[in-house]
Symmetry: C2
Subunit: 126 residues, 2 copies
């Protein structure tokens, strides 16, 4: 179910960015507070330090939200009409256990399918 890439050595990059597409989800939150709780919990389980968050409920449906962490951010957008959610987790620290966060979120929203890509960021410094 989960595909992941191992982050490169930190000295080669400023950070790593996981792009995760969840589909066939049977428990997409409709309440922004619920999604926020899931995302903040996921960030903390991954070892991140939560700084701020902002979540928004669109009309007639759909949520967007971001959790700023000391190590960068998590962002999520839901498409309840498609039983889908897109998540991205950007971390500048190789201590962050991104897979823990991703698997927790997948479990909370009961995602039937998960597709993820890991992109190295800020490689220009090499």
């Amino acid at each position: 179910m989960f595909e992941s890439d191992t982050p490169q050595n930190q000295s080669d990059a400023l950070g790593w960015h996981w792009l995760v597409d969840f589909s066939q989800c049977t428990k997409i939150p409709s309440n922004p507070l619920v999604l926020e709780a899931i995302m903040v919990t996921a960030a903390e389980m991954a070892g991140a330090t939560v700084v701020q968050s902002c979540f928004h409920q669109f009309s007639p449906f759909g949520l967007s939200g971001v959790v700023v962490i000391a190590e960068s951010h998590l962002a999520a957008h839901t498409w309840p009409e498609h039983n889908a959610m897109c998540l991205d987790l950007f971390s500048c620290s190789d201590k962050i256990k991104a897979q823990v966060a991703i698997e927790f979120i997948a479990s909370e929203i009961q995602a039937g399918k998960v597709s993820q890509r890991n992109v190295t960021r800020g490689e220009l410094l090499k």
Copy 2:
């Protein structure tokens, strides 16, 4: 200086995600309000509808910030010690002029080099 991919047909995806790494920057903001103004202006120039934003200043330096837009989000993280900034812009609408936003931000922070990738999101619905 700018590399970009043309977004695929919207019916194939939930959205498009631009990952942009700016380096050799000579005007990285140190004030979160300045970065927020740049990001909100960039979003509006791209035709996005700004919903909320949250920006944070780290100690001793570095900023993180996110602008939630009706069409998803923009997020930026700065590394002043490396003259670098990483930006991501996720849009669920093919009306958003992402390149306009990216080029405006590059100009504001006086980026000497820009590397970008465009990732299609939510292709699982095909």
